[in-house]
């Protein structure tokens, strides 16, 4: 779950950026994998960078993607073990250290995002499992002096044709000395015993008894805790600082200016927070002191009525629009959004003269390590990142600016002791790196039969990637691919299309937020399409179906969701149904939402039926969980959340004014998975985009009010116009 932009495999192959996607069985083991694991109970041997077998028959799978809820500590070991065939009850997992061996097979650095963990490891990890299996077989065959081809494996044992058997644990050491196979034969999918099965998650037991360690849980001997007074306005600088009172406060050990603000280092969290309250800082407020949401809205809506950079052009929109029998247009607005991970940002650093150990939940180990090394004046190889459980990521913990890691290294330099920097919830909410605010102007022309003949979509919003290392690959001719995804790839049959883009710079730090550009384009495109159906006097499902002819995967989920939701069938009185379909990250999702609206405009979502086609899948239970998760994440944004600015300051601070969905509001969610042999797509993010439009379309069906602004608060619903 996620967030790195939707970098498609095709794009990478085209740009020649595919790195390490081939067979890498011969890759040298990272030094950390060879050294005995501290505290390991039994002797163990590494068979390759991803498989370590213990003398006690446990098999540890080294996982190079961060576990942030999306289930990689289960789905990735499943891929390995499909070929390795260890006893699943003895399979363990461990977070990988930073090493090129663990780079993302496509992105070329150790990174978790873009809903890519399973598809990017689908081949490599099965190969790793198969190679390890062959080495275990080779070791047994050598001992028995038989042909390896006469041996087989089963549940953690190698078995000979005469019925002799040895467990993997007994063979581990010898197997590690066997030659690494040059090439491996993988199972035919018809023989799979693990892939495709609803295996229970391996990380659940320690997540129900308090044992799971997140970054914020790291405790080191002699460790201090720091909080930072960050500028109240993005870009503001310390003009003057009086810190005598803070320094004199109980438990405070140091106060130091760091690039991101003023750090208060103390013996514990509470002393640091109390100390921070005593700082007297005058800020040079800088150029953003007058930033306001109404001001941005005005600027964006003005831009939206001027031509932007052309992102997609097909046919002649102006001419087709001129000849259209009917024309409609609309403007949309969605706000900045915070990721609001339940675990606020934090990072623990133990900095020594020639080494630096970092414990944190990160989605971007390679980049964070480089940034930490640069900040500390060390080489990247001198920095170790210990990836902890992430208490939610959603893209926030994959920051090309490496903010929370770099900052903690600066604090450690000042603290001269191991230190944990903790962001309070208020710090986290106001700390930036938001999903950008977006403003869209969209117009369409319909022919006499109500079919769209022209589609013009102008998008206004900040680029996430300009100025980051991703710019080179993903910003082309000034167009950030993440700004237009889900819009420029309009799946509907419209002969004349123009999508253009304005990317204003506002100074507000922005970042990918679960489903990235799709989080807004899905809403705009799918509600506007619903408008067209209405103007054409057609059923929204039938209208989509007709315009999606030839797009079999879109159609597959659309038809499935309509069938499962009983589209067109009776509803309890006071309820409306809405439908939406959207493809992202290589997967196709359709959702039907059933809603009611109370007299004061509050929307209640009663039920969501979801159909998903993510190609070949590994764990259907995780697919279902990720659909439920994406729907809740999307509903929070659809109904409640917004970051707004006044006098340059973020107006929200905590869960009382940055609200997310609560249990009482949870709809019944039903997920249907399409059986498919297509390439695997992503699963962490694609569940998000369709839910806001499905709800807005349901509100329209029920009330005739078309909502074009998120979140759909009661005020927005009450002020929406009937179409």
């Amino acid at each position: 779950m996620n967030g790195i932009a939707n970098i498609s495999r095709r794009d990478f192959l085209k740009t020649g950026a595919l790195i390490g996607g081939g067979l890498v069985l011969g890759v040298s083991l990272p030094s950390s994998a060879l050294s005995a694991k501290k505290g390991a109970k039994a002797e163990s041997a590494s068979l390759n960078a991803f498989v370590r077998v213990g003398a006690d028959d446990t098999v540890t799978i080294i996982v190079n993607h961060s576990e942030m809820g999306q289930g990689v500590y289960t789905s990735l070991p499943m891929l390995v073990n499909e070929e390795l065939e260890a006893d699943w009850a003895k399979v363990r997992f461990e977070a990988a250290p930073v090493d090129p061996a663990y780079n993302h097979t496509v992105f070329g650095s150790q990174t978790t995002g873009g809903s890519s963990s399973v598809w990017s490891e689908y081949d490599r990890l099965r190969q790793m499992g198969a190679a390890a299996r062959m080495m275990l077989i080779a070791a047994a065959a050598k001992q028995w002096k038989v042909d390896p081809g006469s041996c087989r494996v089963e549940n953690g044992k190698v078995i000979s044709s005469s019925g002799k058997s040895l467990t993997y644990g007994k063979l581990a050491k010898k197997a590690a000395a066997m030659q690494v196979p040059k090439d491996v034969k993988l199972k035919d999918p018809s023989q799979y015993t693990i892939i495709g099965k609803p295996m229970h998650r391996l990380d659940t037991p320690e997540k129900v008894n308090g044992a799971a360690k997140f970054g914020i849980d790291v405790l080191l001997p002699g460790m201090l805790t720091a909080v930072i007074a960050r500028p109240p306005i993005f870009g503001a600088k310390v003009s003057s600082l009086k810190d005598e009172k803070a320094k004199a406060a109980a438990g405070v050990k140091a106060v130091a200016q760091v690039p991101s603000g003023v750090a208060v280092v103390a013996k514990d969290f509470w002393s640091a927070v109390k100390g921070r309250e005593l700082l007297e800082i005058v800020w040079d407020e800088g150029p953003l002191a007058t930033l306001s949401t109404p001001g941005l809205r005005k600027q964006y809506s003005d831009l939206a009525s001027t031509p932007g950079l052309t992102a997609k052009k097909e046919g002649d929109v102006d001419s087709a629009m001129g000849k259209a029998a009917q024309r409609i247009s609309a403007e949309y607005e969605v706000p900045y959004l915070a990721h609001a991970t339940m675990e606020p940002m934090n990072c623990t650093v133990d900095l020594k003269k020639d080494s630096c150990d970092i414990w944190t939940g990160t989605q971007m180990q390679t980049g964070d390590r480089k940034a930490a090394a640069d900040a500390a004046g060390l080489k990247p190889e001198q920095v170790r990142i210990h990836t902890m459980y992430l208490g939610g990521g959603f893209g926030r913990r994959a920051n090309p600016a490496n903010d929370f890691v770099k900052e903690a290294v600066h604090v450690a330099m000042a603290a001269k002791a191991p230190v944990k920097v903790i962001w309070t919830r208020e710090d986290d909410t106001r700390g930036g790196y938001y999903r950008p605010m977006w403003y869209d102007r969209i117009a369409a022309g319909l022919d006499e039969q109500g079919n769209p003949v022209a589609w013009k979509h102008t998008i206004v919003g900040q680029s996430i990637l300009v100025g980051t290392p991703f710019e080179r690959m993903m910003v082309k001719d000034g167009i950030d691919g993440t700004s237009i995804e889900g819009a420029a790839d309009l799946p509907y049959a419209v002969p004349n299309v123009l999508v253009d883009l304005h990317s204003p710079k506002t100074g507000v730090p922005v970042l990918w937020w679960r489903s990235v550009g799709h989080s807004h384009t899905g809403f705009v495109v799918e509600t506007f399409l619903d408008d067209l159906a209405h103007v054409a006097g057609r059923d929204p499902y039938e209208y989509r179906k007709r315009l999606l002819e030839g797009n079999s995967r879109h159609l597959g989920v659309l038809n499935l969701v309509a069938e499962k939701a009983g589209w067109g069938g009776p509803l309890p009185s006071g309820r409306g149904r809405g439908i939406a379909v959207h493809a992202s990250f290589g997967s196709y999702i359709a959702q039907v939402a059933e809603v009611s609206v109370n007299p004061s405009g509050a929307i209640r979502v009663h039920k969501v039926v979801c159909a998903v086609d993510c190609g070949k899948y590994v764990n259907p239970e995780i697919i279902r969980a990720q659909m439920e998760s994406g729907i809740v994440f999307g509903l929070s944004a659809a109904l409640h959340s917004a970051i707004t600015f006044k006098d340059g300051r973020v107006e929200q601070s905590n869960f009382y004014d940055y609200q997310i969905l609560r249990l009482m509001e949870m709809p019944e969610v039903e997920v249907h998975i399409v059986e498919s042999t297509e390439k695997s797509g992503g699963i962490g993010e694609p569940g998000v985009p369709p839910i806001a439009p499905a709800v807005a379309n349901a509100v329209f069906a029920l009330t005739g009010k078309r909502i074009r602004k998120l979140p759909m608060t009661p005020e927005v619903v009450m002020s929406a116009q009937k179409a």
Binding site: M1, M68, G69, Q70, G71, H200, R201, D203, T204, P205, K207, V208, N209, G210, A211, A212, K213, F214, I216, D217, L219, T225, A250, G251, D268, F269, W270, S271, T341, M342, E343, P344, Y389, L390, G391, G392, G393, F394, I422, T424, R425, E621, A625, E628, S629, G630, I631, V632, F633, S636, N654, F655, Y656, I660, L661, R662, L663, M664, M666, E668
Partner: protein, 157 residues
């Protein structure tokens, strides 16, 4: 020095009396299963039991916890309701990132101790204060019902 009774043991801690119990549990007792999420009783991640009641430990100054029986996620499995809840959570694959789940489990265990057969409305009112950003609410509901069924059968799955 402040004396605290946590998970059946007595501890002496050197913390200022206004320190929230949450931070004493996490930093002084090193029981990190209880989580910080908001600091203002809006998310429930810090839920512990004080005298058996689900309580937001971020709102309790440590001095007010003196002389009371405090239980955290690390020990809730020693109670019948707590164990049933944990087993139900595993069976329903509830946790995703898992950060908020200690708080949810503590809330559910307190609910079931007081009300072994809760209705949907009972679950709503007992658990609505616990936030989950990963959106595990549907599974939480199912797991609470499953735990209730287990308790009705004497605590067996």
């Amino acid at each position: 020095m402040i004396n605290l009774n946590i998970n059946g043991k007595t501890y002496q801690v050197d913390a200022s009396p206004d320190t929230p119990l949450l931070w004493v549990i996490r930093e002084h007792m090193k029981l990190t299963g209880t989580k910080y999420g908001c600091g203002v009783a809006m998310c429930g991640a810090c839920t512990v039991h004080i005298e058996g009641e689900a309580t937001r430990s971020c709102q309790v100054p440590v001095k007010d916890a003196v002389g009371k029986k405090i239980m955290t996620i690390e020990a809730v499995g020693t109670t019948q309701a707590g164990r049933a809840v944990q087993e139900a959570w595993v069976a329903e694959d509830v946790p995703q990132c898992g950060y908020c789940q200690s708080g949810h489990i503590m809330a559910a265990a307190a609910l079931l101790s007081a009300n072994p057969k809760p209705s949907e409305g009972d679950i709503d009112s007992a658990m609505n204060g616990n936030l989950c950003r990963c959106g595990t609410y549907q599974r939480i509901r199912r797991a609470v019902h499953r735990a209730a069924d287990m308790l009705a059968k004497g605590g067996r799955p």
